[in-house]
């Protein structure tokens, strides 16, 4: 039973790590702000769910599992809100969702 849990944890953690890495590479290589947001959100959702589920399997039935579930729930609530707030602020500032061109906006820094 323990080895089954270990193997499942291993699979979940490695897959989660893979998603996190993919999201990171995407955030670096994507051409526009909004596409980068897509990439970053991959890490926040799939990456976080897989990694934290893998850790939950390792923790068994204990207080730590409840804490990890609370962290996951919190991340799932706040990451979309942050992305929405960021996207709406960028839209209001005038950044166009225009892939392939250099960002033209009045807030370039």
């Amino acid at each position: 039973m323990q080895t089954v849990l270990d193997i499942m944890s291993w699979i979940l953690l490695t897959a989660g790590g893979g998603f996190v890495l993919v999201g990171g590479i995407g955030a670096l290589r994507m051409p526009n702000l909004y596409t980068r947001m897509h990439a970053a959100s991959v890490t926040d959702t799939m990456g976080a769910v897989l990694v934290l589920s893998g850790i939950m399997l390792q923790a068994g039935l204990s207080l730590a599992t409840i804490k990890i579930a609370a962290i996951l729930l919190f991340l799932l609530f706040t990451s979309p809100t942050s992305s929405y707030a960021l996207a709406s602020a960028a839209m209001l500032a005038g950044i166009k969702p225009d892939a392939g061109r250099a960002a033209d906006c009045e807030d370039a820094s």
Binding site: G16, G17, A89, D107
Partner: protein
């Protein structure tokens, strides 16, 4: 078992840092700081289990909270600055 995911998270943190240094607009930097924060949450959770100290999970929860509040504060700053600039422009035109 945890080393793979720790290394992946650390590399992603480095990539987010590069985006924060490069990003042409400020919103790219805000995005990378947000991503950095959530990666730190994952890193803390994994390191907590790596070191065998599950009571470090309070830190991860606190980080998630702080990251959220920080990003909202930044965006509020932008909105108030844009509103103030619009008000100044309206005041100049008047």
């Amino acid at each position: 078992m945890y080393y793979v995911v720790t290394i992946a998270t650390l590399i992603t943190m480095a990539l987010a840092l590069v985006r924060a240094l490069l990003g042409p607009t400020v919103y790219d930097r805000v995005l990378s700081v947000n991503m950095f924060g959530t990666k730190t949450v994952l890193l803390i959770a994994v390191i907590a289990f790596l070191a065998g100290r599950p009571d470090f999970l309070d830190l991860a929860l606190a980080y998630a909270l702080i990251n959220f509040i920080g990003v909202l504060a930044v965006l509020e700053f932008f909105k108030s600055r844009a509103a103030r600039r619009a008000a100044e422009r309206a005041g100049d035109d008047a």
